[in-house]
């Protein structure tokens, strides 16, 4: 590509736009499916008017969530969108590169709010900032960008050319011109747009970071760049938006306050005679150790059938480092192998010299210097690590709070404050092998009875503090480490724990560890670290299968990859049951490829009369042993 074409600038032009509405078509010379105005029936006109009203309504509903982002000096501007009413804003990495690690933001209410940078992804040009100064901000929801079709209407909103005086966004309408586009990056692995959405909605300097909406008012992408050639930096009809699904993949890592890297297999694929074949591979890469070899044909990646090397490239560009990627390959002997590995990180070039410091800076220079230094520190940070523990903790509390809100909302008046007896049928390879009954207390205590079809009864107990097991007739105290290795105890504890005052607090101090995949969808992965430096993980999905927001527990495990002695439990089909929210289907899994070992299917859930003090008295049970 010519060098002059690949320049990256971050700056500006001002353009006044004249909006000129155009009416319906005039009669066409030939018969047409599309009728002219005079041929339209009243019913059709009403449809048109309804669509018009819907568009105006969509704009009215979402424009409050569009953010004009400035640096403190208001020397430049970009855009963003609030995606959580607590003030979480998604924007572009290159916007915060221009604006710094803090600044001010304008909303359509005309007010300015301070913001702080939370996390950034230079590779995919996504950043998250936190607005401050209000308890509930208007917000928009992320759509499932896989449903976007070429020809769909697309509303771009933002602050092109920093036009807005009252902070209300500029709105431009166009159509989706292309999907699954690839726009190459700049520098070392930076600003790559993979699987992005191309629109003819006007995208101009200042639109960066702003939302692209469908006409249901859902965010399908974040506008970030356009095809600018030699005509100055103005819209030429080709704008590109980072897909909302890519943003969902990166959101957890960004909220964890990381400098996020993109993922790589450390292997490349190329098109060879209609097949997509592994053409280079690092022999010590995890994927090589997992079995991928030169010449293997890539059949599927992340569940998508692969038809070209470009398609694979597009897909992997939307995944962060550490993502558990799933491949299906055909080997030379024609056998098909499935491989799951966590992706390695694609490194960024470290910034060179720290910004120079003046001896006696003026106050405004000092502020500028501090911001430059902070930006330098950000880009020099170790990728993938939590940079700001306090901010990280804030999001832990925020999302644990949201789980409770979700539970409360689902249960409503039906929410009971009494224990429940949950009975599950347990299956292995589709065959029932026993029953498992779990007593759950809202205080967090649980007692699990495992009744195999052909073996001795086992019992597990957690009183909210300590663990015990009864295998073979006598109760014995378990260490936390031992308890975490029992998936049956784990599944019950997790169900009770999300209901309790401080979910999972028993396992130590909780941090947002980053992004991951759980139950096949992007998830927040939380890590609990106890006083013995022993860890425990739980995963929370932010979106359900329909891409609607629903913060709920997706998975728990003593091991990040559910490897070794640790087993994982996944949770599905959450339903209100006897005043509780119960995942009616729980699966005990093993390994990164999540091999299902046991399946628990709910048979019944009944309110339990006996209080936890009766059945969860660990002292009494342990004494009874003696």
């Amino acid at each position: 590509m010519n060098a002059f074409l690949t320049r990256h600038f971050f700056f500006c032009l001002a353009v006044a736009s004249f909006f000129s509405g155009l009416g319906w078509t005039t009669p066409s010379p030939a018969p047409a499916q599309v009728q002219s105005a005079s041929e339209m029936t009243d019913g059709e006109w009403e449809l048109v008017r309804a669509a018009e009203r819907q568009r105006l309504e969509a704009i009215r509903l979402v424009e409050g969530s569009v953010v004009a982002i400035y640096d403190f000096g208001r020397q430049g501007g970009g855009s963003g969108v609030v995606i959580d009413s607590s003030g979480i804003v998604v924007t572009n990495h290159h916007v915060i590169m221009g604006a710094g690690i803090k600044g001010v933001a304008g909303l359509a209410d005309g007010q300015l709010y301070d913001w702080d940078l939370v996390g950034t992804d230079p590779g995919g040009d996504v950043a998250v900032i936190q607005l401050k100064g209000k308890s509930a901000f208007p917000r928009s929801r992320l759509a499932d960008s896989e449903t976007v079709r070429v020809g769909d209407w697309a509303l771009a909103m933002g602050n092109p050319f920093v036009l807005t005086e009252d902070q209300a966004p500029t709105i431009t309408l166009g159509i989706v011109s292309g999907i699954k586009r690839f726009q190459e990056g700049a520098g070392q692995n930076q600003l790559v747009y993979g699987n992005c959405i191309q629109v003819d909605s006007s995208i101009n300097p200042g639109n960066s970071g702003g939302p692209l909406f469908n006409l249901s008012g859902r965010v399908i992408g974040i506008n970030g760049r356009g095809s600018f050639l030699d005509r100055g930096r103005v819209n030429v009809g080709l704008g590109y938006a980072i897909s909302s699904n890519q943003i969902k993949n990166f959101l957890p890592d960004l909220l964890a306050t990381k400098l996020v890297e993109h993922g790589t297999l450390d292997a490349n694929f190329s098109d060879q005679g209609g097949r997509v074949v592994c053409s280079t591979i690092n022999e010590v890469a995890p994927v090589a150790e997992a079995g991928l070899e030169l010449g293997d044909e890539l059949l599927e990646f992340e569940g998508e059938v692969i038809g070209s090397a470009n398609q694979y490239m597009n897909l992997i560009c939307t995944l962060p480092a550490d993502w558990p990627a799933r491949l299906k390959v055909r080997k030379a002997d024609d056998s098909v192998q499935e491989i799951v590995v966590r992706l390695l990180g694609l490194p960024y070039a470290k910034p060179g010299q720290p910004p120079p410091k003046k001896e006696n800076p003026k106050p405004e220079e000092r502020q500028q210097q501090e911001l430059q230094q902070a930006m330098f520190d950000l880009l020099a940070a170790e990728p993938g690590t939590v940079r700001l523990p306090d901010v990280n903790r804030h999001y832990v509390n925020h999302y644990l709070g949201k789980i409770k809100v979700w539970l409360g909302a689902q249960l409503g008046e039906a929410g009971a404050n009494s224990p429940v007896l949950l009975v599950d049928e347990v299956f292995r390879n589709g065959e029932q092998i026993g029953r498992c009954s779990s007593r759950l207390d809202p205080g967090g205590a649980v007692r699990v009875t495992w009744q195999p079809g052909d073996g001795e009864i086992e019992e597990y107990l957690f009183d909210g503090q300590r663990f015990a097991a009864n295998r073979g007739g006598a109760w014995k105290e378990l260490s936390a480490t031992e308890a975490k290795q029992s998936p049956l105890l784990l599944q019950a504890m997790a169900l009770a724990s999300v209901r309790s005052e401080a979910p999972f607090a028993r396992f130590g101090s909780i941090s947002l560890d980053g992004g991951d995949k759980a139950t096949g969808r992007p998830a927040l992965r939380f890590k609990c670290l106890d006083a013995d430096e022993d860890w425990f993980y739980f995963w929370v999905n932010l979106y359900d299968a329909n891409s609607d927001e629903a913060e709920y527990l997706a998975q728990v495990s003593a091991d990040k990859d559910c490897e070794g002695k640790g087993r994982g439990v996944t949770f599905a089909d959450w339903q209100p049951q006897a005043g509780w929210m119960i995942a009616r289907q729980r699966t005990v899994i093993h390994g990164l490829n999540q091999v299902a070992e046991l399946e628990l299917r709910m048979a019944s859930a009944e309110p339990l009369a006996e209080p936890a003090t009766d059945w969860a008295n660990i002292e009494a049970l342990l004494e009874a042993k003696q």
């Binding site: 700056f11 001002a14 221009g98 292309g178 080709l238 930006m375």
Partner: protein, 352 residues
């Protein structure tokens, strides 16, 4: 899938390693009022089906690039036996021209013929192409009609990836006479102006379709105003395309083309490299209109036909609009004298 695009943050001041520029310009945009791709609306289905219909008949043309001239373009299939219409350009003059069909397969193409005026070229591939655009010998689409423009601007789409789709309306059918100089656009008949942005590298040869899938015309080559840095978004009308493809010329029922003969003054202007230089006469052609009227080398042209001539560029623009046989008054400054001289332009010969 190598692409060209840049980020859209706006700033006046640099932070870190990024440099900022602050420019200002005034632009104009038309946009279209309303609607939603909703399945119960006739428009939503029509938009989708027009796009689907069009995509199957689009091709990407890969030729030879040279310097800043892009080596690619867009084309449309116009017959069942592999005839492909694209825009004429030097990218077709390389050793090999390849055509990528919608299914991603690549075919070598030969150039059947070209039209200098319309800036179109007809290619041929050795493969049947059962899905092709019907070329109407009559104009399709009127002012205000919605259109979709399919094109591979900036070579955004590669291999089997579908080309870009822009949406707009037919803004105007008009001639370009007296609007731009001949160097930019030789063709003086009617063009279809659209408000979708199509004047981009590689877009020429793309299809402009009504929402019921009829070809309105073919996206023309970039016409750029050097003064405003704006570009014209237009299509060469389908009836002209049809005439070119069939080689029969225009049907009489098609638009009447009242193109006057372009005038020639028989003047060679002094060009020192800059287009803003004053318009001094360098030479006059022996026996040409200028010499007959008494114009001489080193005369400074002040006005032609009442239009002020300040620069070489002004001269070139005005001279391109002269009609053969129509007398004009040329005012020149010779020494300290101003002279008014009537000149009758001769007929301009085709430039080599």
């Amino acid at each position: 899938m190598k692409k060209v695009s840049q980020s859209c943050f706006w700033s006046r001041q640099s932070l870190g390693r990024f440099v900022a520029v602050w420019l200002a310009a005034v632009g104009m945009a038309f946009s279209c009022g309303w609607l939603r791709a909703q399945s119960d609306l006739p428009i939503g289905n029509a938009l989708q089906s027009a796009i689907d219909y069009g995509q199957a008949r689009m091709v990407k043309v890969i030729g030879a690039g040279a310097g800043r001239v892009e080596g690619y373009g867009t084309g449309i299939i116009v017959s069942a036996d592999g005839q492909i219409l694209t825009s004429q350009g030097v990218f077709l003059d390389g050793q090999q021209t390849r055509v990528i069909l919608a299914d991603g397969s690549t075919q070598e193409a030969t150039v059947l013929r070209r039209d200098r005026e319309l800036q179109l070229a007809l290619l041929k591939i050795e493969r049947p192409t059962p899905e092709y655009f019907e070329l109407s010998s009559r104009p399709v689409g009127e002012q205000g009609d919605w259109v979709v423009a399919l094109n591979n601007a900036f070579k955004v789409a590669d291999k089997s990836e579908p080309v870009s789709v822009m949406f707009g309306v037919i803004a105007l059918r008009t001639t370009m006479e007296a609007r731009l100089n001949e160097r930019d656009v030789a063709y003086r008949g009617e063009l279809v102006l659209i408000d979708a942005i199509t004047s981009n590298p590689g877009a020429a040869g793309g299809a402009v379709l009504t929402l019921d899938g009829r070809l309105v015309g073919v996206i023309g080559k970039i016409i750029n105003s050097t003064e405003t840095n704006t570009r014209l978004n237009y299509a060469v009308p389908v009836e002209l395309v049809a005439a070119f493809v069939t080689g029969k010329g225009l049907e009489s029922t098609a638009t009447e083309r009242t193109v006057g003969k372009v005038g020639d003054l028989g003047i060679r202007i002094m060009e020192l490299g800059g287009r803003k230089d004053p318009a001094y006469i360098d030479r006059v052609v022996r026996g040409g209109p200028a010499e007959l009227a008494g114009l001489k080398p080193d005369d400074l042209i002040v006005s032609i036909g009442g239009e002020k001539i300040g620069t070489v560029r002004d001269y070139l623009q005005v001279a391109d609009r002269l009609e053969a046989g129509q007398e004009v008054i040329i005012v020149v400054k010779r020494g300290l004298e101003l002279l008014r001289l009537p000149v009758v332009p001769a007929e301009r010969k085709e430039r080599p």
